[in-house]
């Protein structure tokens, strides 16, 4: 459990995650109020990483459910392992006939079989999917439901039910109640509007691209081998790219990849050649790459070939 907002920040920093005031406050609140946390924002800004960091900070296992269209209850909650059940039935066929041999009538045989029902519908054959795993765990867990906006509206309704009570009723076994309520994180890339009921139930935070200073801090934390001056130039370059009207803006994870690429190439400065060669690490659409290159070339009318600050793009 986190003690205070400051405590949240420190713990997350230990997990190598730089959290802003906003994020720390909301995480603290989510835990105190026991409400799920809905994280929205562009791709790659650290929503999933936040859940992982919190899981590490609290020392609780992370249970992850990745959503996609067509995700239904059987893939999210639980399933019976049909194949295993069939196999056991086949293998135990002899034993089964022994058991039923003494029965005189069909009704008696049915009764005997019914008595053994629990064998085939027991926890042995229950395949617990992420939601059930989180609910039935023996210790508190962190439940991450990733990209909820890719699931359909029916799944959201089903999720709402699970999140409100944290109990599952399996007809054959009974109701399984959660001993510890998991800390729930929901991430969304905002490709579609989520249902209001789900939004009402959660606390909301919009994580945007970080500022230059914040991103610099992140780069220095995760890629310490990069020289501070180069890191500064790189971060500023990425920010100027984000201001261009690109099809896909480079995200924080791409900035980190680029930083690592620069380290690998032993780049000493951010000159034109290095940038042109590594542009594809940052930009994932050919149109964007072409555009960036054009702007790069266009501005370099008086290129000296030396290390120019990318601010002059």
């Amino acid at each position: 459990m986190f003690e205070s907002v400051g405590n949240v920040k420190d713990c997350l920093a230990e997990q190598q995650y730089i959290a802003s005031d906003e994020i720390a406050t909301v995480v603290y609140l989510a835990q105190k109020l026991g409400k799920p946390l809905l994280l929205e924002g562009p791709a790659g800004v650290g929503k999933t990483e936040l859940a992982k960091a919190v899981s590490g900070a609290l020392n609780q296992p992370l249970v992850r459910l990745q959503c996609y269209e067509g995700l239904d209850e059987s893939k999210a909650l639980y399933e019976w392992e049909y194949a295993k059940q069939m196999l056991y039935t086949q293998l135990l066929r002899d034993k089964l006939s022994d058991l039923l041999a003494e029965a005189e009538t069909l009704a008696e045989a049915a009764d005997r079989l019914a008595a053994e029902e629990d064998v085939f519908f027991s926890e042995r054959f229950l395949l617990a999917r992420p939601l059930l795993k989180a609910i039935s765990a023996n210790e508190p867990t962190v439940l991450l439901i990733d990209e909820i906006d890719r699931a359909d509206a029916e799944f959201e309704a089903f999720l709402l039910e699970v999140l409100s009570d944290f109990q599952v009723s399996i007809p054959e076994i009974g109701t399984i109640r959660a001993t510890y309520h998991p800390t729930v994180f929901l991430t969304s890339n905002n490709t579609r509007e989520l249902s209001e009921a789900l939004k009402r139930r959660c606390l909301y935070i919009y994580i945007d691209y970080p500022t230059v200073d914040q991103e610099l801090e992140i780069v220095q934390l995760k890629v310490p081998e990069l020289s501070p001056k180069l890191a500064q130039q790189a971060v500023e370059a990425v920010h100027s790219l984000r201001n261009m009207d690109l099809k896909k803006n480079p995200s924080v994870s791409e900035t980190l990849d680029w930083a690592r690429a620069l380290v690998t190439l032993n780049a000493s400065s951010l000159d034109r050649e290095v940038v042109e060669n590594t542009l594809t690490v940052l930009l994932k659409y050919e149109a964007d790459v072409a555009r960036a290159r054009r702007i790069l070339r266009g501005d370099r009318g008086t290129d000296t070939g030396g290390s120019r600050s990318p601010r002059n793009w």
Binding site: V5, L33, K35, W80, Y82, L203
Partner: protein
């Protein structure tokens, strides 16, 4: 804080009771000492959509005060004698400003009630526009006699100097009073802002009760104010239509057999297909819209556009054409601008004036220039009253469009009894349409759009 929530709701942010409860509980945990934490707490519990953040940022300082410094008490630093002098001097001055002076000189600001009284005197009962806050604050100041304050203060200082007050003390007193003056000014402004918000919240509550009735009344009978009320309702209406469309998608049974899903679902039956799973492939409609924007139809067209704008995610592609006597392609305008701007542009491209509707001409223009936009997946929507002023209705052109398109939907504000009367060519168009809807009021319009999305 409850007033803050009401203010948010009045400005269009949808805050439910559960959320405001969460906010209360959260504030209990976090406390109110750290302003930034308080702000973040409220924001994460009350606002659930990124588009509402600016509204929140605008209203927050109005309700929870920027750091207005409290009024200082200048008299605290005076000794007995000096206080005596001050009291004497004050007694001799005109007592219109006595209230104001007492506030400035004692460090006790106006009470809530006094502020309320002042606001009433300034006529703030009906104020509902945020930009008026400053103006009303000035008015309140004038009522207090702010303008004469300078002179009176000067007289006060003179009198005190004459009475023999120590010049240093006097200077300090002057400074503190000046500070208090500023602080009081800010306080008044803030109070004015808050009053305006409260008024808006009141109005909004009142509006909601009447909106439901307004939706039943025909467009032509509504005045501008009532139309505004309805405009606020559009978003809610669109949300309802969207959820209905989603429900329909879920329950739709059409489609071919989805073999993979069937086998998977039937594993528990040993592979025997006892439960069939169908492939539910619903295609979003492509729309081509003809909007009559002549004066009588303008409100209808506007609301139609607004609703459709909100429902863009339910529609795959849409092309819009506005017409009175000729056609104008307005698709680009609708895409590039906000709702307000787009509606304005559409209306300015075809300005109101005395020229008569000629749908026939518009149809011919369409078939010669844009017929290729209509294909077998398109739904054509015509919003108009089919009154062509006795001109050629261009039925052949319409028939051609109708043949190419998947469906043709006509939305008219007229009763069926009026079709065919006068210059109406409605009865000729009707056989060529798939469906005809009457859209006299917002309810019917919403219904028509619902039906359109249904197939």
């Amino acid at each position: 804080m409850a007033r803050f929530v009401a203010g948010l709701r009045a400005s269009g942010v949808r805050v439910s009771i559960a959320e405001s409860e969460d906010a209360w509980r959260a504030v209990e945990h976090i406390g109110v000492t750290d302003r930034r934490l308080f702000y973040l707490t409220l924001r994460s519990t009350l606002v659930k959509e990124a588009e509402d953040f600016p509204i929140f940022d605008e209203l927050f300082p109005l309700y929870f005060g920027t750091d207005v410094p409290p009024l200082l008490n200048p008299q605290a630093e005076l000794n007995e004698e000096e206080q005596e002098m001050l009291r004497n001097a004050l007694q001799q001055l005109a007592d219109e400003l006595s209230e104001l002076l007492s506030w400035l000189l004692s460090g006790q600001g106006p009470t809530e009630e006094e502020l309320q009284d002042l606001a009433e005197q300034a006529g703030m009962q009906n104020a509902d526009a945020p930009y008026q806050a400053q103006w009303y604050a000035r008015r309140m100041q004038r009522l207090l006699g702010w303008e004469q304050l300078e002179k009176v203060l000067e007289m006060l200082w003179e009198m005190l100097a004459q009475m023999g007050m120590d010049p240093e003390t006097l200077a300090r007193l002057q400074q503190q009073v000046a500070q208090n003056q500023e602080a009081l000014g800010e306080q008044l402004e803030q109070f004015a802002g808050q009053q305006i918000q409260d008024n808006r919240a009141e109005q909004w509550r009142h509006r909601r009760e009447t909106a439901h009735d307004l939706m039943q009344r025909s467009f032509s009978s509504l005045n501008e104010h009532e139309l505004d009320v309805l405009r606020d309702q559009v978003r809610r209406l669109a949300a309802r239509l969207r959820s209905r469309a989603a429900l329909r998608q879920k329950r739709g049974k059409r489609g071919k057999l989805d073999t993979k899903a069937t086998i998977r679902a039937n594993l528990k039956y040993g592979g025997v297909p006892l439960e069939l799973r169908l492939r539910r492939k619903r295609r979003k409609p492509k729309l081509v819209m003809f909007l009559d924007v002549s004066t009588s139809m303008r409100p209808v067209a506007e609301f139609f556009l607004r609703l459709l704008y909100q429902l863009q995610d339910q529609v795959q592609k849409s092309r819009s054409f506005a017409y009175i006597d000729h056609l104008e392609d307005v698709t680009a305008d609708l895409k590039t601008q906000t709702m307000e701007g787009a509606v304005q542009t559409v209306l300015t491209k075809l300005p109101p004036g005395y020229y008569s509707t000629d749908f026939g001409n518009s149809l011919r223009q369409f078939t010669s220039e844009h017929l290729s936009t209509v294909d077998q997946r398109t739904t054509v929507i015509v919003l108009g009253d089919a009154r062509n002023n006795y001109r050629d209705p261009a039925l052949d052109a319409f028939a051609e469009i109708s043949k190419r398109a998947r469906r043709v939907i006509w939305m008219t504000p007229e009763y069926s009894a009026q079709w065919g009367t006068g210059d109406s060519d409605m009865l000729e168009y009707v056989p060529l349409c798939t469906e005809v809807f009457q859209v006299r009021n917002l309810n019917q319009l919403a219904n028509a759009i619902d039906n359109m999305l249904a197939s």
